[in-house]
């Protein structure tokens, strides 16, 4: 069914660097990419800093007081499943959520924990944000399998990049897939900002989406050139320039309409909350609706900045910060997103996955905080054919070790790939033509 002639655009999208450009690989990829029929889009919600599993998906009411913390569990819409009391709105959506309580890895630093969580692979030593030797993020990898002619960027990130005290973090980019697969950063155009957004994240330029009319004509010409079949004249040296211009072009139409939050029903906007956390979730929904295959939302201030701002790295004053600043925005925005995806009939075809660096320590430290803890923590998934109202795996009574079905971030990635009909064992080639499997994990039985 596929023509043996590939447009330039397809070739540009399909190449893993220039060396990996082979048509058989592309054909093979397409035939392998069919597994499950459900999800066509994905929303990755990233909780930068490390979400405490105790104060979210895995409360431990019977643990000793110095471990269980100040909060109580609450019942959810699913009999027998309890969440933390400060996410009461999300608790009403437990029938849509699959909670994985037995995730673990061995990376205790933010950069390392984020890297393994967002790429599914341990970071190399001395990892650098801009290096093309890095593994692609989950979002970048998903965009690798999308229809390149769809007319939207393959992956978008909102609303900040991740920094740690001013250092840009590695992991949320296209890595060895190449610059074409770097998810495009967009600044959410509305909402009260997270507290403690640093100058580093603030400095990132907003994408200007307003197109001038006279330039559209040029873009159409450009588009024709892009769609022209690859013939005897090869212009590979213009590869990157074309890609950049193509991205700009693609941002011109449906995506810029989706970006205009003013055109959303004000009651729906209010449902998500008057905060950049909520407005980013709303924008994610609008982008997915406009055909963007994958949107990643950083649900917190982009820079950890020593834990001072509204991020999940709660070494100090954990309980008041969670209760007063972090969980209310999270609860409202996530519950609104699930409500909205569901009522539009989009949840069946959109897999929502929550990722974070690691959990937090069982023991509360002398500053009333919890420290980094990768030995066991919780993640969550919804939509895309994943059965809600279930808990997979468990941690022990103190929340300190996996007690059943231990699994890794890579297993959670494999689950997302399965929901999206992407064979996670597909081989891809990096810039040195070395073969890599898309994901080393195995899908969890959540369907």
């Amino acid at each position: 069914m596929y023509p043996l002639q590939f447009s330039r655009r397809e070739v540009l999208r399909s190449s893993v660097g220039l060396a990996g450009l082979t048509l058989p690989t592309l054909l093979e990829l397409r035939s392998q990419a069919a597994l499950a029929p459900r999800a066509t889009s994905c929303i990755v919600i990233y909780l930068w800093g490390g979400l405490s599993h105790y104060e979210s998906w895995d409360p431990k009411p019977s643990a000793p007081a110095e471990l269980r913390g100040e909060f109580s569990p609450i019942s959810t819409a699913t009999p027998g499943i309890q969440y933390c009391e400060h996410i009461p709105l999300i608790a009403k959506h437990s029938d849509k959520l699959a909670i994985v309580r037995s995730v673990h890895h061995t990376q205790g630093g933010h950069q390392q924990g984020m890297y393994v969580s967002i790429t599914g692979h341990n970071p190399p030593g001395g990892v650098k944000a801009k290096s093309r030797d890095n593994w692609p993020s989950l979002a970048a990898m998903i965009s690798r399998f999308q229809d390149p002619t769809a007319g939207t960027p393959g992956a978008i990130r909102l609303p900040y990049s991740m920094y740690d005290n001013g250092t840009l973090m590695a992991g949320e980019y296209g890595g060895w897939l190449g610059v074409d697969y770097d998810p495009v950063l967009m600044r959410t155009p509305a909402g009260t900002p997270f507290g403690g957004v640093s100058r580093y994240t603030n400095r990132e330029l907003d994408l200007k989406l307003n197109l001038q009319k006279k330039r559209i004509v040029q873009r159409q010409t450009l588009r024709e050139q892009l769609e022209r079949p690859v013939g005897s004249k090869s212009d590979y040296e213009r590869h990157n320039r074309f890609r950049r211009m193509a991205s700009e072009m693609l941002l011109g139409s449906t995506v810029s309409k989706a970006y205009d939050l003013e055109s959303e029903d004000p009651r729906i906007r209010t449902m998500y909350g008057d905060h950049i956390g909520g407005q980013s979730m709303l924008l994610a929904r609008r982008l997915v609706e406009a055909g963007v295959p994958v949107v990643q939302v950083c649900a917190g201030a982009g820079d950890l900045a020593g834990g001072g701002g509204d991020n999940w790295d709660t070494h100090r004053g954990h309980f008041p910060k969670m209760k007063d600043r972090l969980l209310p925005v999270f609860d409202r925005s996530v519950s609104a997103l699930l409500t909205d995806l569901e009522q539009r009939g989009m949840l069946e075809e959109t897999v929502v996955v929550f990722l974070t660096d690691f959990g937090r320590t069982p023991k509360i430290n002398k500053n009333g905080g919890r420290d980094h803890y990768p030995a066991v923590y919780s993640l969550a998934l919804a939509g895309g054919g994943i059965r809600g109202g279930q808990v997979y795996g468990s941690s022990d009574s103190q929340g300190a070790q996996p007690a059943s079905n231990p699994c890794t971030p890579a297993d959670v990635h494999a689950t997302v790939y399965k929901a999206m009909g992407i064979d996670h064992r597909t081989e891809l080639y990096d810039r040195l033509e070395r073969p890599f499997q898309v994901c080393d994990g195995e899908p969890l039985p959540l369907f």
């Binding site: 597994l35 029929p37 100058r199």
Partner: protein, 296 residues
């Protein structure tokens, strides 16, 4: 021997003939299919095989083919072997649904946000394999639900922003125990805005006039906070951050009469210059939100 050979030859001929016939038919069917696919693509549709090693098609118009009208649906009807069809946001009406009548392999059907009322929905009553039907944002009422209550395989029915009522939903849910009807939030109960807290004005900080950049001290570190610059002069100014390493970093330009909100840290120095980079003065940010007024 000879007779045997003759029989064998005849059989071979028959086989060959049959093979040619089948190939010929196959080519015809393939040609028709190819034409139909081309017609669908021409009107902005995308066609793919349904994932999962299946042979049915997934046809979508909701992204590139929103101008689709009722008469265009003949091309969709011609493809027949469709398991998933998305017509969201297209120009179709209830009259067009007659074309979907023969698509009995349909499992997923998106009709949301189209101009469909009760008048066309009876055409869907025979789509016995439907599992997912999205009618949100259409004009349908309980009458449509009654017409759909024979779809035994239906698991999800989306009716947000339609005219259906509690009674209609109760009737179809009783008729189809495996069905979940998704009604969505009641918009009339949602506020259009939340009263936002009045913004606290910043605490004014001191303007120190200088003529040389070297007179401005380099920034000291402190807690994260905010500064609002207000340009009360009659000219455009430039805003520089004096870094911890004593460099100047341009953060923006500010027109006369305008304000600019800037994230910063306490004890940071901000140098203001004119358009030609001639220093005019500086501010040192305080521990709380600061107001930095650039004087005349």
């Amino acid at each position: 021997m000879w007779r045997l050979n003759e029989t064998s030859a005849a059989r071979n001929w028959i086989l060959l003939l049959a093979a040619m016939l089948v190939t010929g038919l196959h080519t015809d069917a393939a040609a028709v299919e190819k034409e139909t696919l081309a017609a669908i693509k021409k009107i902005g549709g995308t066609v793919r095989l349904v994932a999962g090693n299946r042979t049915e098609w997934k046809v979508e118009f909701h992204l590139g083919g929103r101008q689709l009208t009722d008469k265009d649906l003949v091309h969709v009807a011609a493809l027949k072997n469709i398991a998933s069809l998305n017509l969201r946001d297209t120009e179709i009406t209830g009259d067009g649904l007659v074309h979907l009548k023969g698509l009995t392999k349909l499992e997923w059907l998106h009709l949301e946000r189209t101009d469909i009322g009760d008048e066309g929905v009876s055409n869907l009553a025979g789509l016995v394999n439907l599992q997912y039907l999205n009618l949100y944002g259409t004009r349908i009422t309980d009458k449509s639900l009654d017409q759909l209550s024979g779809l035994k395989n239906l698991k999800r029915l989306y009716v947000w922003k339609t005219g259906v009522t509690d009674e209609g939903v109760a009737r179809i849910e009783k008729a189809l125990p495996n069905l979940k009807v998704i009604r969505g939030v009641d918009l009339s109960n949602l506020p259009a805005s939340v009263p936002s807290e009045p913004e606290k004005p910043g605490k004014p900080i001191k303007w120190i006039a200088v003529s040389k950049a070297s007179e401005a001290p380099k920034s000291e570190n402190g807690e994260n906070t905010e500064v609002v610059f207000e340009n009360k002069s009659d000219r455009k100014v430039k805003i520089y951050w004096v870094s911890y390493g004593d460099e100047l970093k341009l953060y923006g330009e500010l027109e006369p009469g305008k304000t600019h909100r800037q994230n910063t840290y306490a004890n940071n120095t901000w140098l203001i210059s004119d358009e030609n980079d001639k220093p005019l003065g500086y501010f040192i940010v305080g521990p709380e939100k600061s107001l930095a007024v650039i004087p005349q």
